[in-house]
């Protein structure tokens, strides 16, 4: 087979297997093109060939992250590709996350260029834009016709190791990745030019925009508390008795997801703290002292709040790295968004 070898990843829907009812499809592979792969292949011409396609249901993927990614990587590696393409996922959230996650894993493990396509508000876009080239697409599969040529063009460039242009030139979402380039003038001369412009009140372009540290725009207030679904999250380490996920007492490497169905009150018999940063006696005696399930249930019964979300999330804040805390919160956030909660209470010790 001629040309640069490409493997393509799509979900059950684009493979023509079915919609939501087939989203639990386990991963499998097929030789050659499937679904949108044919349009990509047409755009590649002779230079690149889709040698195989890997297909997985979105629900199966997102519910089996730990096992599914190695499985898929193995299938992809079996085709011995030089470039990997996923999607496009448009605005499909779980599909976008899957495309991004597979791209990230392929890039890291197989060390080949990866590319996908998404609508910029797809949650997968923000999560994986640093790891993959994500071609900016429209928000639905109706925009396939526009998405394919841009993806094919960039894939060809990547496959041929050609220089990749700016996000504007190539149509990918800005990765926010810092790179080194050779400017025409040395740094000091650029600084003098910049100062002259700044002094004259002319437009100038900083080479390093200051990241906005630590601020998120406050979201608007709840309109009607009595209809609101409120979720509880804690970094105080409250876990079911026996700490089933073995969350570490400090520098936690994970968070736990726990069901509150049927619990009106947390007690020493049912829950405990995994936190190692403070005296655990009080929290172990009555875990409500860290995670106020008892009060929330009363407020729920009284109709003060609409409902308490029946899943709570717990990790241990003590010694957990800033990056990990952010990562856990991101994952928790995606689930809470999907669950349609209206407000969140985070408790910390």
């Amino acid at each position: 087979m001629a040309g640069i070898r490409v493997v393509h990843y799509i979900n059950q829907f684009f493979a023509g297997i079915g919609g939501e009812e087939k989203a639990d499809t386990k991963p499998f592979k097929k030789e050659g093109v499937v679904g949108p792969g044919s349009a990509l292949q047409a755009a590649f011409g002779e230079e690149m060939t889709i040698v195989g396609t890997v297909i997985c249901g979105d629900t199966y993927f997102n519910e089996n992250l730990d096992t599914v990614i190695p499985e898929i990587i193995k299938m992809i590696a079996g085709f011995n590709p030089q470039v990997f393409i996923a999607g496009p996922a448009f605005n499909a959230g779980r599909y976008g996350v899957a495309c991004g996650a597979v791209c990230e894993a392929v890039a890291r493990q197989l060390k080949i260029p990866v590319i996908t396509g998404m609508y910029e508000e797809n949650p997968g876009a923000d999560m994986y834009k640093k790891s993959a080239y994500i071609i900016k697409t429209g928000n639905s599969a109706a925009k396939m016709r526009q998405a394919i040529p841009a993806m094919a063009k960039l894939a060809l460039k990547l496959g041929k190791s050609e220089a990749i242009g700016t996000p504007e030139e190539e149509g990918y979402l800005p990765k926010g990745i810092r790179i080194n380039i050779w400017y025409e003038k040395r740094g000091s001369a650029r600084a003098v030019d910049m100062l002259i412009k700044k002094l004259r009140g002319e437009a100038f372009q900083t080479e390093y925009p200051m990241p906005v540290f630590d601020r998120v725009t406050p979201r608007p207030a709840l309109k009607d508390l009595s209809k609101a679904k409120i979720a509880l999250v804690t970094s105080g380490g409250i876990v079911p008795k026996g700490n089933p996920d073995r969350i570490e007492s400090s520098s936690a490497s994970k968070f736990g997801t726990y069901d509150l169905t049927g619990f009106d009150d947390l007690t020493a018999a049912t829950h405990e703290t995994a936190h190692g940063g403070y005296d655990p006696v009080y929290a172990n005696q009555d875990p409500d002292r860290v995670l106020p399930v008892d009060v929330m249930r009363v407020l729920e019964k009284e109709g003060v709040i609409g409902s308490l979300h029946n899943t709570y999330y717990a990790t241990v804040g003590n010694g957990t790295s800033v990056a990990n805390a952010k990562k856990y919160a991101h994952a928790i956030g995606l689930e809470l968004k999907e669950a349609g909660v209206d407000g969140i209470i985070l408790t910390s010790t």
Partner: protein, 427 residues
């Protein structure tokens, strides 16, 4: 102050019977040089000469200097080290252009600083473009690290001074004149032009992290106003041995790029009135004090804009931001020069500090970027250091002799005075 810099282009550097400058070639009597720089604290001193394009790797490089000699005007180059610190910056100084004096040696175990004279690594260091007189020195048994650093620093200054002497009576190929008048006069000189100063922050924190102003340990100074030409005569020198990519070598100070580039625009689109030398100390109190004082000085000078440069990693980001914030608060425009530690993938935040006032930043690039340097034919120094130098990997030294490292191990790669064309950008 008016300083003439007489540039003598060096065609080659060779060992010879007599140390002299003949037909553009610098001849060095090796024995005499070794005798001149001899120091009881140092054992095995040796000298080598390397040229651009030669397959040579030098590591770990401590300092690079440029031979300059005071032909007229008061004082000596590197004031305070060999004399009573007479003020420099006036008269005429001769420069052996195209030549470097490089000191090499391990002061502490992890010391870094690679200069490749050929191959891809050569693009990252300005010193691959110089003909270098390389001085290799080992310490005597039992010598303390502080003493070792001081001894090696003095060897560099002495050797440079010794070699520079050959240019005293030479006819320069080019003469450039730099002049800054006393502040009051200078401020009035170009009434229509914006008045600009330079805040020159130096790494000053302790062992291997020091800089000297007129031979004074600069951690002990409060920010102070000097004439730009004083810097050209070696008023500022390096005692900084870590963070090879963004430490300022003495060569950088002598050729301090912001100073020369501000002079390029002087009288045309700005009025360059002076330099404020500042420091980067360990305590937050010192940082606050120095930035308060620098901002006060800058304000009292009545300038409209300043360029602020940085030296080193991490904590100097705080000095940079404090200077920026406080000077901008006085209504004075700032442009900053920094470099970045954005991770090998460029995905992390570049600086350890930030401030909204810092809206005009020039960056010298991401020091965590990775490069593979192929094996070169000859090594001067200790290439085994590569495995443990800053930015090295486990097994950085491959079987084929190539090394994979972060560019932070390359001397001058992301110089925060803005010496290089390389810089950071975003995709």
């Amino acid at each position: 102050m008016r300083l003439e810099l007489g540039y003598i282009s060096v065609k080659d550097v060779k060992f010879g019977e007599k140390t002299e400058l003949r037909d553009g070639i610098v001849y060095v009597n090796k024995a005499e040089l070794l005798e001149t720089i001899a120091d009881e604290r140092l054992a095995k001193l040796d000298v080598d000469i390397v040229h651009p394009g030669e397959s040579v790797r030098i590591c770990p490089v401590k300092d690079v200097l440029e031979p300059r000699v005071k032909v007229s005007g008061s004082g000596n180059v590197f004031p305070g080290f060999f004399d009573d610190a007479k003020t420099v910056g006036e008269g005429r100084t001769h420069v052996l252009r195209g030549m470097g004096v490089m000191t090499v040696g391990k002061i502490v175990g992890f010391q870094e600083g690679i200069v490749d004279m050929a191959g891809p690594g050569a693009d990252y260091t300005p010193f691959s473009q110089l003909i270098n007189l390389v001085i290799l020195a080992d310490k005597v048994e039992g010598l303390k690290q502080h003493e070792h650093e001081a001894a090696l620093r003095m060897v560099g200054l002495k050797a440079t001074r010794y070699v520079a002497e050959v240019s005293r009576n030479a006819e320069p190929d080019e003469i450039k004149v730099y002049e800054t008048k006393p502040l009051q006069e200078q401020l009035l000189e170009y009434p229509g032009l914006p008045k600009v100063a330079y805040v020159y922050a130096l790494q000053t924190q302790g062992l291997l992290h020091d800089s000297y102003l007129y031979a004074v340990d600069a951690k002990k100074i409060l920010p102070t106003l000097i004439y730009p030409t004083e810097v050209m005569d070696g008023a500022v020198i390096s005692g900084n041995c870590v963070s090879a990519c963004d430490k300022n070598t003495t060569y950088h100070h002598l050729n301090s790029p912001v100073i020369y580039d501000l002079f390029e625009h002087h009288g045309k689109d700005l009025n360059f009135v002076g330099v404020v030398v500042s420091n980067e100390n360990v305590t937050l109190l010192d940082k606050e004090r120095s930035s308060n004082y620098a901002a006060k000085l800058i304000k009292s000078m009545g300038v409209d804009g300043v360029i602020i440069s940085e030296e080193g990693f991490g904590n100097p980001d705080a000095d940079l931001m404090m200077n920026c914030k406080k000077i901008e608060a006085e209504g004075i425009k700032t442009v900053l020069i920094t470099d970045e530690y954005a991770g090998r993938d460029g995905a992390s935040q570049s600086l350890a500090d930030g401030h909204v006032a810092a809206n005009a930043v020039v960056t010298a690039g991401n020091a965590n970027a990775v490069i593979t340097l192929p094996k070169l034919d000859k090594v001067i120094g200790y290439v085994d250091a590569v495995n443990t130098i800053a930015g090295g990997f486990d097994g950085a030294l491959a079987a084929d002799g190539s090394i994979t490292i972060e560019i932070q191990a390359i001397t001058g790669a992301t110089n925060e005075l803005g010496f290089n064309r390389m810089g950071g950008s975003v995709i």
